[in-house]
Symmetry: C2
Subunit: 264 residues, 2 copies
């Protein structure tokens, strides 16, 4: 049972909206299990106020960490004093911690957490061809982590061609020639397909790509966590594909967070 | 059992230090009892960063209230858009709430909470002579609340003569001719005596006034909450006076907070 007192250390998760975040339900039980006197609370940060809110949070002396979710991951990378290589490559951050010298360090666990969850479920991307919808913050991080984990070829689609070209350039700088990009979904040859767009959060969203065009028994992964069963995953399952839920990405990140924040 | 999710509303208590605050232990069980999906967390706000921290907190869309403790109560009055009459009189605030129009309203419950606790314990100040040590934020609020509750005469002492004169002028404007002030304690004729200074927080603090000079069976009240039994209260009890603990002030505020923040 969580008990909050004057000595409790703070962690926040920033988003807009924030009602859908799952991290308090995962991190707070972890704090309790590790006997860490800390609490993670949701912070609804409207985009125009993000800088002001983060500046205020970073000045709070008992606040040790800031988790970041949509739509603030790209902006968050710019609100830290130092950035990890993964943040430099992806241009986005999902965790900021206070360093011993008082400065803030940004890391991005979305991609590595997603890949850890994928491997855990038996879907190792090594030497595979992977299709990814979405070149935003989460998509960029997942793209980099898939290539870092040895995916042979990666096809990324996004309607924003400038964003797509910039991501490809950053990926090519580290993993030359393994990434192709397109405005429309191109799932040909992919055994693992991933939705890293927000499509599926709302019941009337269109599908990010067509599950009926995939090779039989493809792995269909979604990063949308709420609803757990998106329309994409429901239709993919009905077609006999193997589905991989959004929550696995967060579960895959728990050990990484624990190490990053030095929790027990 | 408290459960924090993305829908949880936030309240904070600001202080420097903040480890001693008792409000999370009182408010969080109240939220749970009322089935209110909210949490109160401590925020350690160093004085030089107070404005930046409050500006950030006020921009958080799911943050509904800010409690304020030492040394920020006077500054907090200036960080709201509107102030209650009690805040105008005392020049300090201990609770800020977001109004329906998005502006912030400051209130001060220290005095009314203290008086509610006093009345609850059977020590109604109406028509009584009361002595009060301390003309700071808490002392000012208690002075105003005692006069508002009908205390016939109020003697306030504080070594800071400018602060004392300013408080007397503000009190006289509302309750003319009922307040006397002095640099040294003057407990003559008082049946209720109150310590509203921080003296007693540390074991080697001097006494704020001498309990052995009081009339028999006086009511001796202390606003210091930690330790529960200050040297003042211990010596007063040994002399046969009736003692009133600091925690009663906070208990007396709970119902007021509940109404102020519209909790169930």
């Amino acid at each position: 049972m969580m008990s909050i007192s004057g000595t409790t250390r703070l962690y926040v998760v920033l988003g807009d909206p924030v009602t859908q975040v799952q991290s308090p339900g995962l991190l707070n039980p972890l704090f309790a299990k590790l006997d860490v006197d800390a609490v993670l609370v949701p912070v609804h940060a409207p985009a125009p106020d993000l800088e002001r809110i983060v500046a205020g949070l970073q000045a709070i002396a008992n606040l040790d960490g800031i988790f970041v979710t949509v739509p603030h991951k790209v902006a968050a990378a710019g609100l830290a004093d130092r950035r990890s290589p993964m943040v430099e490559i992806t241009g986005s951050a999902n965790a900021l911690r206070r360093e011993p010298d008082g400065r803030w360090y940004a890391e991005n666990f979305d991609g590595t957490g997603f890949v850890a969850g994928l491997v855990e479920a038996g879907h190792d991307p090594q030497a595979r061809t992977v299709f990814l919808a979405g070149a935003g913050g989460a998509g960029s991080a997942i793209a980099a982590a898939l290539l870092a984990a040895g995916a042979e070829r990666l096809a990324v689609c996004d309607p924003d061609s400038a964003k797509l070209a910039a991501l490809r350039a950053r990926l090519d700088a580290h993993w030359p020639g393994r990434t192709s990009v397109s405005a429309e979904p191109d799932t040909a040859g992919a055994g693992i397909v991933v939705n890293a767009t927000p499509l599926g959060l709302r019941p009337d969203d269109p599908l990010p790509f067509r599950p009926d065009e995939l090779a039989p028994r493809s792995v269909v992964a979604d990063i949308v966590m709420k609803p757990r069963e998106t329309r994409l995953l429901r239709e993919a399952a009905a077609l006999g594909h193997r589905v991989h839920y959004g929550i696995h990405m967060l579960e895959g990140q728990l050990n990484a967070y624990r190490a990053f924040f030095g929790l027990g």
